[in-house]
Symmetry: C2
Subunit: 354 residues, 2 copies
């Protein structure tokens, strides 16, 4: 290939406007000490020539790279992509992250990192050294991985931890898993349910525990027993199936179930069908995450949204602020979730309103 050079550089602009490089640089970066008329003249040249600063050169000269790196778990992401089950975590991250980045003249770069490898640090270092991002966004389970968090802490690069509430290096941005689990439970309690089962997610993810906590808290507050109503899953369809059977094959089966993600809710729906338990007449069901599949099940699932786009957007905002030297928020940043009502919830069988 021909050696490619920047077509229009800061030099061309400076020459065209008849000013120094520095003045052009000041205009580009909105710095003070430029008279309005100068600024206007330079801007006119920029527009005329179609000049765009080279990120590489900006980075080289020790300033910002205008790059935010979003890091996701490699194996899990690829598995989701291959499965084509509609998990749209990545899409929602991009939606929230790219748009917010664009607002500030930044760019989001999406990267996969292998957590399980013993050279996580090598991989991270590789991405950081190669791209020199101004900020990094960590997602679960990376966001609670001490090795990663400590390593990034040493790198002097602002980073946000999505779905984490822990203190330590980096800015935590949580999605209020406990609160929304509580909310979902209260939603069912308000409709007359007392026996509300809960299918937990993989303990590899801290949020699994928080969701259980929220359910327990709401049940306790309502004075409802939770004896054998907790079943363990791991977010997979198969685990949801087993958990649903465990919950539904007993005589004193719950009248409602909350599943910690959509796949397990889908499995629960299937188990209910096999057991001839009608949803929502005989069993109400609320799922977590609100991924696309909730539209396509029979009945469509009432679900607790996981506000990934909003959370990523917030994380980008905090990162850009940090990069400008602003102090991160003192308190934990929490983005709250919403329940999307569809058709999988009804009052329990035999209830007055049923």
């Amino acid at each position: 290939m021909a050696r490619r050079r920047q077509a229009v550089t800061i030099k061309h602009v400076a020459a065209d406007a008849g000013v120094s490089l520095q003045t052009v640089s000041r205009v580009i970066n909105n710095e003070p000490n430029v008279r309005p008329e100068m600024k206007e003249r330079v801007q006119a040249s920029i527009d005329k020539l179609g000049y765009v600063p080279s990120i590489a050169a900006q980075r080289m000269s020790g300033s910002r790279s205008y790059l935010i790196l979003a890091i996701n778990d490699r194996d899990r992401t690829i598995a989701d992509w291959r499965a084509r089950q509609g998990t749209d975590w990545v899409d929602q991250m991009l939606l929230g992250g790219m748009l917010k980045c664009a607002e500030h003249g930044y760019r989001m770069i999406f990267e996969l990192v292998d957590t399980h490898s013993d050279h996580v640090e090598r991989e991270l270092l590789g991405a950081i050294a190669a791209l020199q991002p101004d900020g990094i966004i960590l997602t679960p389970p990376h966001s609670d991985n001490p090795q990663i968090v400590n390593f990034l802490g040493e790198q002097k690069i602002p980073f946000a931890r999505i779905g984490s509430v822990q203190n330590g290096a980096g800015i935590p941005v949580s999605m209020d898993d406990e609160g929304s689990a509580r909310q979902a439970t209260e939603y069912l309690l308000a409709r007359g349910h007392r026996r509300i089962g809960f299918i937990a997610g993989s303990s590899e993810y801290a949020l699994s525990g928080w969701r259980v906590d929220g359910w327990q808290a709401a049940m306790a507050a309502a004075g409802a027993a939770i004896d054998s109503l907790l079943a363990q899953g791991d977010f997979s369809y198969a685990s949801g199936e087993a958990a649903a059977r465990q919950l539904l094959e007993r005589a004193d089966r719950p009248s409602a179930i909350i599943a910690s993600n959509d796949q397990m809710a889908l499995a629960t729906l299937e188990v209910a069908r096999a057991l001839e338990i009608a949803v929502p007449q005989d069993l109400s069901l609320i799922s977590f995450d609100n991924t696309p599949l909730v539209h396509f099940t029979q009945p469509p699932l009432t679900a607790v949204d996981q506000p990934i786009a909003a959370t990523t957007s917030k994380a980008v905002e905090l990162l850009i602020a940090a990069q400008k030297g602003e102090a991160p928020p003192a308190a934990l940043t929490v983005v709250s979730a919403t329940i999307y009502e569809r058709e999988s919830v009804a009052p329990p069988p035999g209830a007055p309103g049923a």
Copy 2:
């Protein structure tokens, strides 16, 4: 923020190995004229220090940026993300593109560009000047947009046009829409169907036309009439609904329908249910794209896959080859599609095997 500098640079490596910067550079880039023992010594230092070249610096000095830019339509992509209907085009692009990039030490950057704006060129120029990618991947409908194609042609950057068969600047990589439509039609013909309806997609996308062509060719080859069996849609659910009604409310309705995408197939399914036409007993249905929703419909849809991951992967390969100076393939590169058999196809009513 503190001014961040590269922790380990080529200088550190050179000093550690006791050689010149140049020798290190040669080792990094696998260039000739380095004795094996030298190479080994340098590599040892690189590993020891955890050195990773800075992309910015590499780009600055006029060499590769190791960046491949994947450009998608802004409005449509954002609309898909917001709708959360499980369209996983972007995910599949990333799957194919990122993995192939990683194999070659490249990185894929995903960008949104607004086609409809009158300053497409400005937007493109912005991305190119800022990132200086080594290659660009265009997707429909951009890949057939003359304004964009011509503009990129002038930029001297290798680019691939996914889903395009046109000649001109850039390397076309097609998904064989015509062939797979023919294949789907033949699949139905082989099972005894003669009246096979077709719901076309938006004419804004060239592939819509190719799919119609494939259907027509197969029907003609089988001597089957296509009188009123073609209905126009635009890929939206609503348009699919209207098209399905047009096809199914007539007395001589088709015994099978091919829909140009999954959303329109879903709509067809719904229309059939409303009209009390059983799928697949009274109506067979094949959809295009094979997005996640095909798993969740009743019955699950037999669908023609759109091999986005494989196509993007191929595009990256061609781009990296081009960047190395290799000539692009003389013939059009075609990635073929597969039919995923599920439960929406059966022999026509009254057929021997029915």
